[in-house]
Symmetry: C2
Subunit: 222 residues, 2 copies
């Protein structure tokens, strides 16, 4: 059984790798996301290595082992199921769920989480649009949807791009469109199929050419 602290380290490693797009991490990076000092992380890393949850060598990079990854995904599953519970059943706002789920994710009970999953109707995505791993730790892929097929007034999360030419990505960056960003469809122009989206309070126009190159998934809102 892992301590809450150990669980947080493993989870942070997955989040780092997802955000950075690489599978390994450094002591300073990890310390940064955990809001701890590098010296502290260094000590814990030796412990996690001892327990076979990470591999790393002195002055080297940190990588999760498959056991470590499995544990981390289990914690992420719990986090996202609790977020869904808070949002769907208890009427929490989208931005309030994370903090409480950070605590709930460490409750130890297999039955609890499996029954919660069932109670919620085996949801595939959490209120932020993030995919919820299933009980086997698989990230079932949610059907791919292009931004060009969104509906007015609904909310989505950007999940990927079809085209990864630098110039295109730079343009997306300029528009503020990054993986993980959420937006709401304010309107769609019928004559050119351009889409007006609201993202972080700003309104942006997306042409149909761009929308056809960006993947999204629905996000639940209150």
């Amino acid at each position: 059984m892992l301590s809450t602290t150990e669980e947080n380290y493993l989870k942070a490693l997955v989040h780092l790798s997802v955000e950075k797009g690489i599978k390994d991490a450094g002591t300073n990076e990890l310390a940064g996301v955990l809001h701890l000092k590098p010296a502290t992380v260094n000590v814990m890393l030796k412990k996690l290595r001892e327990k076979k949850y990470v591999t790393y060598e002195k002055y080297g990079r940190i990588t999760l082992t498959s056991a470590g990854r499995k544990m981390a995904i289990e914690i992420i599953r719990k986090h996202r199921l609790w977020e869904t519970f808070l949002f769907d059943k208890l009427g929490f706002d989208w931005d309030e769920v994370h903090e409480v789920a950070e605590q709930l994710e460490h409750i130890q009970s297999k039955k609890l989480i499996d029954e919660l999953d069932r109670f919620l109707g085996f949801p595939m995505v959490d209120p932020h649009g993030e995919i919820i791993p299933n009980a086997k730790g698989e990230l079932k892929s949610v059907p791919k949807q292009l931004m060009s097929s969104v509906e007015e007034k609904k909310s989505y999360v950007i999940t990927g791009v079809k085209n990864d030419e630098t110039s295109f990505l730079k343009y997306l960056e300029k528009l503020g469109c990054r993986i993980g960003k959420s937006f709401r469809v304010a309107g769609i122009q019928s004559f050119d199929r351009s889409i007006e989206i609201e993202m972080e309070g700003k309104s942006t126009l997306i042409t149909s050419e761009v929308a056809g190159q960006v993947y999204v998934r629905p996000r639940r809102v209150s």
Copy 2:
């Protein structure tokens, strides 16, 4: 904000006082219910006294202050609401809820517990028949019911006695009837209104005279 450990000490003090019927406790008693050593408890007691949650003097008895009692009741409220959630919504068995609720009761979020209360329909008793304190920390009294008015096949908890003569209490003790004990009504004889109850696997006959002196409340069962 109290640590999980501190919360457990306060909660244990309330439970001890309820079970013993007295308001104070000793170091050894407290160590016993917490499964810790007296020396450990002694150290923590100084800390809780410092924080004004208990009063006690060297070699004296331990008493909760009103602040300490308030905190403890809040934790008990959380524990019982979570038990109700697990039982009513997630299909846990009566005997499975306690262990998980021990973990859930330490989650810190006022909104969480108030919304949970609402989601559950402001229940008055938990699956064990224990009264759930309300958000103000009041123990609303559940309507008194005599054992003589129970219904067949239903389950109840013994909550008190109308008569507290020693001889009567000794007799109850012999029957295994103590406050907090749960039983199921196996059958009621119509000609003498005697009640056959099942308690801890054993079947016992209760006369209508005895049943008229014992208070009970309904317990929920699966």
